[in-house]
């Protein structure tokens, strides 16, 4: 009983820590993104709230909390209200299986530095990723607005172009690690990170995970110049904020997944493991911001063509080659 309670407390502490860090980082990723995009465009970015605009996330959240929360008259109320939560929750939940360090010994007990090491962790990640798109499509549909609906539909279309490539690109990783558990995948990279042997899978995974988190150049569901704000056109206040947080948590989660699958997860010399994971996440996020500052948005058909004609065949070929190499 005592050990059970102690375990529960440790789990709660871990969850609170991860949640806190994720949300804090999401807020400051927004700041970093605005700052960096500003610099990429030879301007300053936010610089009014606090030094270097460091209080900007706080100002933004106060503003969003104080804004009126409008629910359109003709919207499907319940689904409309729930959709943002689905997006934000699934994004947060995905982090539950990401290991952020090796087992540590705490007061004579082994504490694994992962919230939950389930043996089908990878499948869990995919399930949550697709559910996130579900929340977006529902939000677009429930708004009962044509722009939002189109955004939601585009989101769904994007999902069927990318989910497959995303999954297939990781098959070689699973073949190499012989496990679906993210903990085992990180452990399998003790000697070398998988990016060295799987560069193609890495590229495919990065592209499809950017599409998955609806980052520019794949932000079709919220294309502002043709759809208003896309699936969240009708959302206001903190409900919009949840979509927004969801996107930035997604960014971090995919940064973490890129690290776990290809960059050796928390492995790295000198620094403590969680710091290494954090560094890798931040680097991935910065690269994503750089990509956002460079590439224009893809067209609907270009996106599907790229997904179906390039990424999926490429990942299939990659699987065959990896399989052949492993067999030999």
């Amino acid at each position: 009983m005592i050990t059970w309670i102690a375990g529960l407390i440790v789990l709660l502490i871990k969850m609170a820590l991860v949640l806190g860090v994720l949300l804090f980082l999401a807020a400051y990723l927004v700041w970093a993104e605005r700052k960096l995009l500003g610099r990429l465009q030879v301007r300053l970015g936010p610089n009014r709230a606090g030094i270097f605009g460091l209080l900007q996330p706080i100002a933004d959240s106060i503003k969003m909390l104080c804004k009126e929360d409008i629910v359109p008259e003709a919207a499907d109320k319940i689904i409309f209200l729930l959709a943002p939560a689905v997006v934000a929750t699934t994004a947060l939940l995905m982090f539950a299986v990401v290991p952020f360090g090796p087992e540590i010994t705490l007061m004579g007990k082994q504490v694994p530095l992962v919230i939950s090491d389930i043996n089908v962790g990878l499948l869990f990640v995919f399930a949550m990723a697709s559910l996130g798109v579900y929340g977006m499509a529902l939000g677009g549909w429930a708004s009962n607005s044509k722009f939002a609906l189109l955004g939601g539909i585009r989101g769904a279309a994007q999902m069927i172009s990318y989910e497959l490539a995303l999954g297939l690109s990781l098959v070689p990783v699973v073949m190499l690690a012989q496990s679906f558990s993210l903990v085992d995948i990180v452990n399998a990279q003790a000697d070398y990170p998988f990016i060295i042997v799987q560069p193609i899978a890495f590229v495919i995974f990065v592209i499809s995970s950017m599409a998955e988190s609806k980052r520019i150049p794949f932000d079709l569901p919220e294309a502002e110049n043709e759809l208003g704000a896309g699936f969240h056109t009708e959302y206001s206040g903190m409900r919009f904020g949840l979509f927004f947080i969801g996107e930035y948590v997604h960014m971090q989660v995919f940064g973490a997944l890129i690290a776990v699958f290809f960059l050796g997860g928390w492995r790295g010399p000198f620094l403590p493991p969680p710091v290494w994971l954090l560094i890798k996440i931040i680097i991935a996020a910065l690269v994503m911001i750089w990509i956002r500052g460079t590439l224009p948005r893809l067209r609907y058909d270009q996106l599907m063509e790229m997904g179906w004609k390039i990424l999926i065949p490429a990942s299939l070929i990659n699987i065959i080659i990896t399989g052949a190499v492993i067999l030999i």
């Binding site: 960096l36 610099r39 030879v42 301007r43 300053l44 750089w290 460079t294």
Partner: protein
């Protein structure tokens, strides 16, 4: 096929290099409240009523600006002075409606109404954007430093009679047909 892939990768690389180079450049942002860029003299913002070089009101209350204004935000009441000069008894511009098109300035025969580069005119209460004559009047000539309408108009005032100015000829007696 290979060249195609090579070309597209090269193009992508160039794009990323271009944005990365900008990252290292100094931002060209002008921070507004700290630094106020001197605007060109002809930029169009707050409207003023200017005076002629003698320091007298230029506006002759001819209603031309009012009638040309596309949003009808100018109104006034004309009156006549004892010295024969017309003036505006009251003159009102609703700057909340003004679109700063500058048509009033174009239409004005006396160079009285002018748009200035002073754009910092937001008010907390929208009614404060209704400018009365005393808010509009300034004691200088604005952009047009020399023009004095009454020196050219051929109108009788205290200072000049008709045809007395050196570029004028004597007025013709229209009631007679003698040359």
């Amino acid at each position: 096929m290979m060249t195609e892939i090579f070309e597209s990768v090269k193009a992508l690389g160039e794009g990323f290099a271009a944005t990365f180079k900008h990252l290292l450049r100094k931002p060209i942002t002008e921070e507004y409240p700290e630094y106020k860029r001197p605007l060109p003299e002809r930029s169009r913002a707050r409207i003023v009523l200017t005076c002629d070089p003698d320091g007298k009101e230029r506006c002759v209350a001819c209603y031309l600006c009012s009638s040309v204004c596309p949003v009808s935000c100018i109104s006034m009441q004309s009156a006549e002075n004892t010295d024969g000069r017309r003036y505006a008894k009251w003159f009102r511009i609703n700057l909340g409606r003004c679109i700063y098109c500058g048509l009033c300035e174009e239409a004005c025969p006396t160079s009285a109404i002018q748009l200035t580069p002073d754009f910092e005119n937001s008010r907390l209460d929208i009614l404060n954007l209704v400018f009365e004559k005393q808010d509009l009047l300034v004691d200088n000539c604005g952009k047009d430093r020399a023009y004095n309408f009454y020196k050219h108009a051929g109108i009788k005032t205290d200072s000049f009679d008709k045809g007395t100015r050196d570029f004028e000829t004597e007025p013709v007696n229209v009631k007679s047909n003698l040359p």
